[in-house]
Each structure stands twice: as C-alpha cells, then as structure tokens.
C-alpha cells in the first residue's frame, strides 16, 4: 500500500478541531467541578478509606465486621458482586441450553412452554421479577416454626433455605492441597487441548485423594440446621435476599442465553446438517462435531454482551436488600460524604470488570477459532 501524506484540511484540521473541542469541554468540566467543590467546601482524598466503616453488611462471601475499614467494605461488596455475576452466568447457561433446545424441538408442548417462558422473562423488567420473587419467598413461605421440609435435612422458610452441610473431621489440609493442585493441572491441560493427559491427571488426583482420605482417617460429620429461638442455626443458609436475586436473575438471564444459543444454532446453514449426515454421522454426532463448534463462534460476541449485562444487572440486587458493590458504595457515600471518590471507584470497578469479561471472552474466541479451522 502506498503511504500517502495526509492532507492538512481533510486529515489534521478536523482532528485538531475535534481534539481541541473535547479537551476544552473536559477542561471546562474540571473547572466547574473544582469550583463547585470549593464552593461547597468539599475535599477530594482517598484517606477516608482507612477509617472504620461502622455500618453492618447483611451478608458477604468475605468476612466483614463493622470494625473493618471502608476499603474492606468496598472489597466485600466487590466479592458479593463477583459471586452474583459468576453464579448467574454459569447457571443461566446451564438453564439456557435446554431451553434453547426445547424451543427448537419438534415436541409441541415443550416448544410452546419454553417459548412462553423465554418471552415472559425477556419482556418484563428484571426489577419487577426480583421484587416478585422476593415477595413469593418472604410472604408465601412459612415461618421457621412451621418450616417446610421437602427433603430430610433441608428446610424452607421465609428466612431462607437451610441445608445440612457435611463437614470434614480431622486434618484435611493435605487433601485440600492435593485436590486443588489436581484441579488446576486438569483445567490447564484441558485448556491447552491435551484432553488425554487431562483425564489421566484427574484420575490420578481422585486416586491420591482417596488414599489420603483413608490414610489420614478423615470422616464426615453432618451439620443439621436446628431451630433456635428465632432462626435456624447451623448448616448452610441461603437468605431470601440472595435466593431472590439468584432465582430472578438466573431465570431472566437464562431467557437471554436461550435466545443466543437458539440464534447461534439457527445461524449454522442447514446444508451443514445435510453434509454431516451424508458423511454418515448420526444426529448427536453431527450436533457435537459439526454444528456446535460453528454455532459457538457465532454465539460468543452476543454472549460477551450478555455476561456484561449480568454484571451490570447485579446492581439491581439493591431492591431486594442484597448488599453488592453499588449499594455499599452508596452507603459509604452517605456515611462519609466523599461522593466523588466513591463514584470514581465504582465506575472504575465496573469498567474493569466489564473489560475483564470482554478480554476473557476474546481469548476464548481465539481458541474457538483454532478448533474451527
């Protein structure tokens, strides 16, 4: 390609003007903001992050207490946001694929009910769905005294879902280390495409794990929830807030995931099916070997957008009282008055997370490109 000198009037001038305007706008905004802040005697500093937060956080993945600092409160919120995002993404795909298949199936009832479900969740706002599910859980379910027990050891009340957990008795550290190493190694090998070696490593991990179990004389002890004065104590508790967020968001997101999967499958030309059959593959084989790899590439870009939406929609947990990053930032703002700093932290956090999702999905896209070829 011949390198051409750029014409001043059509290349440099418009860009100079544009850049100048944008810079002027930004400068004007900076002047306005600093002027306004000076007028209101507001200061900018991140020093407050070390102060004691003092406010409680209802529940969190990470350990938090009101004596921790604001910085840790933010981290706690981030942890909750990540938990929501990851769980919703995984669960919505697991639910979305069968929904998409049901919508494509020849079975009339399955097709119609899946279609009605997908239409329903996609065409109503998530806020309403969250409020609805929270109402269902807190108003319709019985109080702890008359808990509903679908299975032994599982209790369903308006205080949430209480599940019996199994705790390991004895020194479990070597076992945990072995399993972690095995899992990481398997995942790495599988990612590199060395499926054979991955299966050997995973089998080896199981064998070593079982040997350790017997050698260390480990045992299992169930932790059964029992009724205290007010609530169930012990076991694992999923609060109504978390349950409503997960239930509502997963159903909502699965509707979108189903549409993406369906569109991806539909976008593979019908001739590919015919060609696969002509080569003697049966339906399942042609789906797995021919259709899915091609559909996957088509699905990845809309899936990336969908995952970012899940991240952004996790802020709606606010309406049912689940504390995630956005809500904790707002509370911090209220207790410290450092609105600008909190907002900046918040915006940067979400941009980073959204960017991270895009990067990860692009990496996946490059890998799929290699399979497809």
């Amino acid at each position: 390609m011949v390198r051409r000198r750029h014409d001043f009037h059509r290349w440099w001038l418009p860009q100079l003007l544009l850049g100048g305007t944008v810079l002027a706008l930004l400068a004007a905004m900076a002047v306005t903001v600093t002027g306004n802040m000076a007028l209101r005697a507001m200061t900018v500093s991140l020093g407050f992050l070390d102060n004691t937060a003092r406010f409680p956080i209802a529940e969190s993945v990470m350990a938090y207490s009101p004596v921790d600092g604001f910085a840790w409160a933010f981290a706690t919120g981030l942890g909750n946001t990540l938990l929501l995002t990851a769980t919703i993404i995984v669960a919505s795909i697991l639910l979305g694929i069968p929904l998409a298949l049901a919508r494509r199936s020849g079975h009339l009832l399955a097709r119609l009910s899946a279609g009605a479900f997908v239409d329903g969740v996609r065409n109503t706002p998530l806020v309403i769905q969250l409020l609805f599910w929270y109402g269902v859980i807190t108003v319709s379910l019985p109080s702890p005294r008359s808990a509903f027990q679908p299975l032994s050891g599982i209790f369903l009340t308006d205080r949430g879902l209480h599940v019996t957990t199994l705790g390991i008795t004895g020194t479990a550290l070597p076992l945990v280390v072995t399993l972690t190493i095995g899992l990481v190694a398997t995942a790495t090998l599988a990612w590199r495409g060395r499926l054979h070696q991955a299966s050997i490593v995973s089998l080896g991990t199981v064998v070593v794990g079982a040997t350790l179990w017997l050698a260390l004389d480990l045992g299992l002890r169930p932790d059964v929830p029992r009724l205290g004065r007010y609530n169930f104590v012990g076991g694992l508790t999923v609060t109504p807030e978390l349950a409503a967020v997960l239930l509502g968001s997963v159903l909502y997101a699965s509707g979108f995931a189903a549409e993406i999967v369906r569109a991806g499958l539909a976008a593979v030309p019908a001739g590919q099916w015919d060609a696969a059959r002509a080569m003697g593959l049966n339906d399942r084989q042609s789906l797995r070997l021919v259709i899915v790899p091609q559909a996957l590439r088509i699905m990845l870009p809309p899936m990336t957008n969908q995952f970012v939406s899940v991240l952004k929609n996790s802020t709606l947990a606010l309406v049912v009282g689940y504390p995630e990053l956005n809500s904790i930032a707002n509370t911090t703002m209220n207790h410290t008055g450092h609105a600008l700093e909190c907002m900046l932290v918040l915006v940067l956090a979400y941009l980073t997370l959204a960017g991270g999702i895009s990067l990860a999905m692009n990496a996946l896209d490059r890998r799929t490109a290699r399979w497809t070829r």
């Binding site: 544009l18 306005t32 199936s105 109503t124 309403i128 409020l131 991240l311 907002m343 915006v347």
Partner: protein
C-alpha cells in the same frame, strides 16, 4: 394420446420438513412421551393451585376484609390501579396523564403501517410529544402547573421511552458513523464513549445524575430529575443503538455507496436514502431487542425518586388495610411492560418479514 394439457397442473405442497403434526410430536417416540409426561406432571402440580388462587378463590368484589385468607386479591388492583398508573399526580388533574397515554399509544399504533411513514406522521409525533410534555407540566392554557417531581406512573414510563429513543437514535447513528470514520481521533473518542456507557450499570449512572449533577453543572443551574433521568437514558440508548447500527453499516456493501455517489447523490443523501435503510433492515432483530432494553430500563427510575409504575406499586403495597397482595400488584405491572415490549418484538418480526420480501 395427447401431450398437451388442457388443465393446469395442481400446485403440490412442499414436502413436509421440520415440525411434525401436533399429535405425533407429542406422543410419537419414547423420548417425546417422556417429555410430555414430565410437562404434564408439572402442569398437574402447579396449574390447579394457580387457577384456584386466581379464579376460584380470587376476590373480585368486596373490600379489604374479604382478601384475608383468600386467593388473589384482584379488588385491591381495582382500588389502587389509578394510583399505580398515574402516581401522585393531583387527583383532579388525572385526565391529563390519561390523555397523554392515549395520545402516545394512539400515535404509535397509527405509525405502524408502512403507508403512514410520512413527513406528516413525523411532524405529528413532534407535535404530540411536545403537546404531551406541555399537558403534563401545565402552566399554559389555564392548566394548573404540575412539577415533574409529581408526575408518575405510566406516562413517565412512556415519555422516557419515546424521548430517549427519539433523541438517542440520531446520537447513536452519529457515534456509529464516528466509529467508522477515517479519522483515528474520532474513532477513539466514539469508541471510548460507547464503551464507558456500556460498561457502567445504568443504576450507577442514574445515581450520578441524581445526586452528582449539581457538581457537574455550572453553579446555580438546575435540571429537573426527570430531565436528568432522560439524559442518562438517552446516552445509554445511544450507546446501545450505535453498536447495533454499526453492525448494520458494516453489512452494507461498499459498492452501494459508490454507485449512489456515481448517481450524483450527496454524501448525506447516500447515507439516509441508500445506506441506512439497508443497514436497519439487516439489524432489525437486535434493534428490537435494544428498544426493549431501553423500555425495561425505565423501571429503574424509582431509585432517583421519580414515581414510576414500580415505585407506585411498592407504595400501595404498604397500605396496612390490605394483606399485602404483592403477587397481584407485580403481575399487573409486569403485564403492562410485557404488553409494550412484546408488542415491539412482534412488530419487529412482522417488519422483518415484510421488508425481507421487499429486499433483494
């Protein structure tokens, strides 16, 4: 023996392909029978309960006392519907939001057929929206002024949707074109703007607009919360729409532009007459999804203190005289949204079919 036909050959239907007839698809194979049974099992477990709740035990007349220990409390909705639909708008003036809602819905229905896509319709829209805003705000023609903080319910939802789409579309088109510009600076700026708007949750943006706006604006300048929410929704829908339009623009072959230019059309005409219609035709389904996202986003304004359907619903549920019929209330609000969103989706499907036939 003759080889000349005296009657035309009957047109044969295409060979069956795809969907089986209902009966065989439901009971045709072992797998299908199992699926049917599973669905039937769930239906049997849930449907009778639902029907009993909604109809047999539903309370259709009476008062709050009748709703205790009964099924669906429909009478509650009958009582509270005006408040849910129009919020805290002064009672004596409720005909105004009602008028606005009718005008907006009427205009939308009128615009749907192709033959109504004219200059006159566009003008009517502009007049209709301006008139709606005036009718809501009052202060002219002897109408009592009602500040936007007292607007509520359905008209707020509809106005925000219509305005943010109408203002966001040209903005989004501009962003999409800028991202395809030959000037790198233009591309970077547009990309940065779109990515920031798409990466930050709408709730966070609304919060910034709600309480941070006075810091960003010159001192003493005030903007109504309604307008701030509108600015956020406009920017967000512009960012979403620009992504969709960009995809469509990429799909229009370069030759189309070149041949249009060869015909002597100016650059603007090339864009509006030749390129854009083809681009939009290519992206109708994602365009409809984006519009639906914009509509659903309006349900978030409750966090900035605007009184939309959802916040009105939350308020009526707090009436201690009633036994908290949350399911009925949220179902009703969801139904309003569903009607609008589903309508958009259906219309887009219809257009896709019509325009698809008209296309190449």
């Amino acid at each position: 023996m003759t080889f000349v036909r005296s009657a035309p050959e009957p047109v044969l239907p295409p060979p069956p392909r795809g969907r089986d007839p209902a009966a065989s698809s439901t009971f045709g194979s072992a797998a299908n029978i199992v699926t049917t049974l599973v669905i039937a099992f769930f239906a049997e477990r849930s449907l009778p309960h639902f029907l009993a709740w909604a109809f047999t035990n539903g309370v259709w007349r009476g008062d709050a006392a009748d709703c205790r220990d009964a099924g669906a409390c429909w009478i509650f909705l009958h009582e509270k519907a005006p408040f849910i639909l129009f919020g805290i708008y002064p009672e004596a003036e409720r005909w105004r939001p009602l008028l606005v809602v009718s005008v907006l819905i009427g205009l939308t229905l009128w615009t749907m057929p192709h033959r109504h896509w004219t200059r006159a319709t566009l003008l009517t829209w502009v007049v209709g929206i301006a008139g709606s805003l005036l009718a809501m705000a009052g202060g002219v023609a002897g109408l009592t002024p009602v500040p936007p903080s007292a607007w509520g319910g359905l008209p707020v939802t509809l106005l925000l949707t219509v305005l943010s789409l109408a203002l966001g579309f040209p903005l989004g088109l501009g962003l999409a074109l800028a991202r395809r510009s030959r000037l790198p600076l233009g591309r970077w700026l547009a990309t940065g703007t779109v990515e920031i708007l798409r990466g930050v949750p709408v709730l966070t943006l609304l919060f910034i607009a709600a309480v941070m706006a006075p810091l960003l604006l010159p001192d003493g300048m005030r903007v109504e919360t309604f307008v701030r929410a509108l600015v956020v929704f406009t920017l967000v829908s512009a960012a979403y729409l620009s992504e969709v339009l960009r995809g469509g623009l990429q799909g229009v072959p370069r030759a189309q532009m070149e041949s249009a230019q060869a015909l002597g059309l100016r650059r603007r005409e090339v864009l509006l007459i030749v390129v854009l219609p083809q681009a939009i035709r290519k992206v109708l389904p994602p365009l409809a999804s984006t519009i639906i996202v914009v509509i659903k986003n309006t349900s978030l304004v409750m966090v900035v203190g605007l009184f939309d359907l959802v916040s009105a619903g939350r308020v009526v549920l707090n009436d201690p005289a009633w036994p908290m019929p949350y399911a009925e209330t949220y179902l009703m609000i969801a139904l309003v949204y569903f009607a609008v969103c589903h309508g958009v989706a259906r219309y887009a499907l219809h257009q896709e079919r019509v325009l698809g036939e008209g296309g190449r």
